[in-house]
Symmetry: C2
Subunit: 659 residues, 2 copies
């Protein structure tokens, strides 16, 4: 019915153009999405199909057995080269960081315990050794960890300290007499918690602790600490299993306590700072804050990977829900003798297609951030400014990508009704396993605050090395007006003034499908919101309010501004990608998706645009109508668009939904 | 910090009143929420605490053992009288339908497998025997099912037929020679599916099938069919286990196939229709559609119960998240020497408090629908109109209540960070178990269509007994303009015209905190949306479009209009409750919540109000500011407000979050 075989209704105008749906070449679409890493993505797809039984094993094995099975699969996948793409070739790696992100993302089409175990072993543990350590550490560990022979964990988070890493309580004291560090857990808030690989498999831990040398605190540093030998905890180390989790039960998360555990001086991962035998602390980075954030910045790959994984998990959910809606009939609507396909209902299209369009948008935005990561970490463009931009973009894409994953998986599950509730139909695992993505590798709200802080401060200013994680500290720790006057924000206020209502009329005259119009709308919102935040912060401080109170009151605007910024980046990525395509049916199809994404993004915040004089009532209503119309135009190609994701059929499972 | 010990900022006006937080009497608040069923709610709370180990058993026992344990708990709870409140006293019940709903709702504070098992046994199975059967069936089954000795299931849903019950494919043919019904499953789409109690425990099933008598189809009727004896399927019955589900794994859902299963003539639940020995079909209700919906209407209690359960599950999530946020500190914000409580961050308040306010609103709306159910089914007010109103309200409250549950549990889980992901901390079970509520007992979108249909048709008109579940059929099967002219909708269009922009200025001059203003806004939206739907339907049909296409295009408006209607009912219930309270601190506290609920509801749809001339830009912004201000005022009493829910401490579990 919604495929519009009837004549267009009068309300759309007698001259409304009839659209022939584009003829989508699914293989070409997959090739476009896979991009330059088609080969490694292909390898991962093959491996996923090879180990497809893991989806069922996740249900049938008990927790211990499933953990062992996941470990086994991870090690076997490692032998294909899939998981070591990011390590130098001399240690058995692939020497290609971009390929390593692509491999990880693609792995998210399958069981997510396998994904997270890979992330813990090769991304967090391996990444810390690689990025924070030096030659000696690389020689000692990399070759064995790349094969999975040496398992490790990444012991940063503490029970009482999640996103605020600078406040963690584990202490490493240098003992000059023995040339050792003594590592100790101070109180229950400082136990390491939720540490993947800790409960069962890790022999080593990279432990983040407050370094003390000669009685002086030097801030958080990382140490390689043996925690388990032949399956038993090392002396002074206590290990507890975190037990059952909502999902990801193939990963052995645990807690760690250290009671005066001694490690040699060489255990300090000393790329950015070292302690001499005699107990002299040395670092090339003088400012302790800057040093801390430089160290942490090297770990940005984790965020890029989690964002990409969430986007790919969304693809699985959408593929199932769209295919189900093309199979399942419900109610006789347009004829008396057969029930209608779910996907021919307007509401069903409204529920699924904007999410489908957004998945494409985020895919291309993810491609941009992954490419930046590759360039920065391959030394292609590694200046301070580019690094900061990468960190901000990674944080923002991770936040939007993971929220999108949670929302999409939920909507798709509901769109599959009762059948969606059976474990065999995939949503059980997808929902439970992906749920933690919104809060790990940085809670999404904290990450957006980081993005906002980046926007509010000039990268070259003295403020840039302040607390990466806290707009809170940023506001609390200084007179905010100084920042506003010194930095971009000042220029920004000027720029926004030019765009205020009463200015030009671009927003009235431009076509809704004009990408320039769509982008201008998102740019206006971003800059206006940002300026508003700066103004409110300044006013609060000027009024003598406690900075904490000021921050608390402005916090929702801070988050909204950061979100607006990332939304703009996402749309830019999508528009650029489509714009670069040669004319043809593929371009037509992606243009439909890009328009749907842009307009449904504006529609979702149309109240704000009206409040700020950038959208008339009439135009706002037109946008909603256009979103519906685009949904109808996407309907005939919906299956092609999910097939283009290239999800291996074995990963869809769901015999009752898509079989 | 957000407790506002600082002076109010200039932006709020120097004369902004200082508010002393109300002193909330938690016991009095609980008494108010418990209402007239405090006693039975108390009994359930005691039972929940008694069987608190079930929360842990849900994790530690394997599926089979957990199913047995849940059955055991259900039977033991039955012996306290808790689960039989709705059955007549002569069969060992409590003879109080309102008490039965209250008991069920309260049970949702605990393990939800126990809840759903109770719902299946006493609500669906027992309810069908009670409501669709006659004396003979009551005498044969009720006493034994009330104790849980006789377990049964409710076999309505089929794999290919969920919400569209009228289309189901199981057939019951009357064999006049043997005076038996012969029940047969026709094809895989017609197997009964997701049937609780079917996989293990049920001896009997109430089977819904197309009745055929003398070669003539008589529509869907219900039959009592033995499916299992001494643990083995009865001859001709095939039973399959639905296997692992996302949650509710203590309930044994299964599939049923019938291959010429013969049951005696008395197996027909014959309250509304019967077949004589000679094979003559008789019913006091002549119209087959009306008969069908009368039968189904008696089962409305299930929807009322699921809605109430979701609202109570939300209370558990909120209690944990609020208590955690009063314990967990993160980042130094307002001072250098301690980190700030999560609940003192504005964003955190924004995330939790509107959901808290809405939980209160829905609680009181649920109280209204439960009271209506009691009155209708106790014969206190049982006319056609009241029944229709009850069905509509039950459908709407179920939809909004269950969506609220899913959303609240998710937000609370994220607000508890990584700790929220551990199974011991309650969200795992809450999320997984409650997830299906949005799609069972009627998919929420289908239910809202039912609500919309009720609004569009006059109850007394000939259209009222058309397909209860389908606006689709409603549009497809008739000339819609006839409806519009004949019914309320016509008056409605007139009424809305009077309210269009350019009319009076009530919305400009009224105070935002004036409940009349808040209600008028929601009433305007409801009536305007409804009239818009009617107009669009008519226009489409007038233009000669296929009714299916017309419906598909208007469907999102249909859903929105129904939602707007239910939102208005919810706010009315809350306003009425608060208005009736004696002056005092409790009233002050609930007024804050009621204002927050009303304004955040308007805020969420402020784009629509602006688009329809009922909200100026300035006023829209004021509403957002007021929502933030209300959040700050609720902050000091937040813990009292969740304590008022009276969740037994054992049900919070979460040693790491609230311990």
């Amino acid at each position: 019915m919604a495929t519009d075989t009837a004549a267009p209704p009068a309300s759309e105008g007698a001259s409304a153009p009839r659209h022939t749906p584009p003829d989508v070449d699914v293989a070409a679409l997959t090739a476009l999405l896979d991009g330059k890493y088609a080969e490694v993505r292909g390898l991962v797809r093959t491996n996923l199909a090879e180990y497809a039984s893991i989806l069922e094993e996740a249900e049938t094995l008990d927790r211990d057995a499933f953990r062992e099975r996941v470990k086994e699969v991870v090690v076997e996948m490692a032998s294909t080269g899939q998981t070591g793409m990011g390590f130098p070739e001399e240690y058995g790696g692939g020497g290609d960081i971009g390929a390593s992100v692509a491999a990880f993302e693609t792995l998210a089409l399958g069981d997510l315990s396998v994904l997270v175990k890979v992330g813990v072993q090769f991304g967090l543990f391996g990444g810390a050794i690689l990025q924070l350590g030096t030659q000696e550490h690389h020689d000692a560990y990399l070759a064995r960890l790349v094969t999975g022979e040496l398992m490790g964990c990444f012991a940063m988070t503490e029970s009482g300290h999640g996103s605020n890493v600078q406040a963690l309580g584990t202490v490493a004291t240098y003992d000059v007499a023995t040339e050792e560090f003594v590592i100790t857990t101070h109180g229950e808030q400082s136990r390491k918690d939720y540490i993947g690989n800790a409960a069962k498999h890790a022999e080593l831990a990279v432990v983040f602790a407050q370094l003390e040398v000669g009685g002086e605190g030097r801030g958080v540093h990382a140490f390689v600490v043996p925690i388990r030998e032949k399956g038993k905890p090392c002396p002074g180390v206590r290990i507890e299993d975190d037990g059952a989790k909502m999902g990801l039960n193939g990963v052995d998360n645990g807690r760690l306590w250290f009671d005066g555990v001694r490690v040699p001086r060489g255990a300090l991962l000393n790329r950015f700072a070292d302690v001499s035998a005699a107990g002299v602390y040395e670092s090339a980075i003088e400012n302790p804050n800057k040093r801390f954030f430089t160290m942490l910045g090297t770990l940005v790959q984790g965020r890029v990977c989690v964002g990409g994984a969430s986007i790919n998990a969304s693809k699985v959910a959408l593929a199932i829900a769209v295919k189900y809606a093309l199979r399942r009939r419900q109610f006789e609507a347009s004829s008396d003798d057969h029930e209608e396909l779910l996907l021919d209902y307007g509401m069903h299209q409204r529920r699924l297609f904007p999410l489908l369009a957004r998945t494409y948008a985020l895919h291309f935005a993810q491609e941009v951030v992954a490419a930046q990561l590759h360039d920065v970490f391959s030394g292609i463009s590694d200046d301070e400014h580019t690094r900061r931009e990468l960190e901000s973009r990674a944080a923002g894409t991770k936040a939007l990508g993971t929220w999108h994953g949670t929302r999409t998986i939920q909507e798709c599950r509901e769109a599959c009704g009762g059948a969606g509730y059976l474990a065999v139909n995939r949503f059980t695992a997808l929902k439970a396993d992906s749920d933690v993505f919104t809060t790990f590798e940085g809670d999404n709200h904290v990450l957006l605050q980081l993005v906002a802080k980046g926007l509010l401060t000039d990268y070259s200013s003295e403020f840039s090395d302040l607390d990466q994680f806290g707009m809170v500290r940023f506001v609390a720790g200084m007179a905010v007006e100084t920042v506003i006057e010194r930095t971009n924000v000042h220029k920004l206020l000027e720029r926004v003034k030019d765009l205020l209502p009463g200015g030009d009329d671009w927003d009235q005259e431009a076509g809704l499908m004009d990408p320039d119009y769509q982008l201008q709308m998102l740019r206006f919102r971003e800059e206006h919101m940002l300026a508003g935040v700066a103004r409110r912060l300044k006013r609060g401080i000027d009024n003598g309010m406690n900075p904490g109170v000021v921050f608390s009151r402005v916090q929702d605007h801070v988050i909204a501004a950061a979100r607006a910024h990332v939304e703009r980046l996402v749309l830019e990525a999508f528009v650029a990608k489509v714009g670069a395509l040669p004319d043809g049916d593929l371009k037509v199809a992606l243009n439909l998706l890009c328009d749907l994404h842009a307009l449904s993004t504006i529609e979702a915040d149309r109240a704000w645009f009206m409040e700020h004089g950038r959208l008339t009532v009439q135009r706002s209503k037109s946008i909603s109508r256009e979103v519906n119309r685009l949904c109808r135009r996407i309907r005939p190609i919906a299956e092609d668009l999910v097939d283009g994701f290239g999800v291996p059929p074995e990963m869809l499972r769901s015999p009752d939904l898509v079989g």
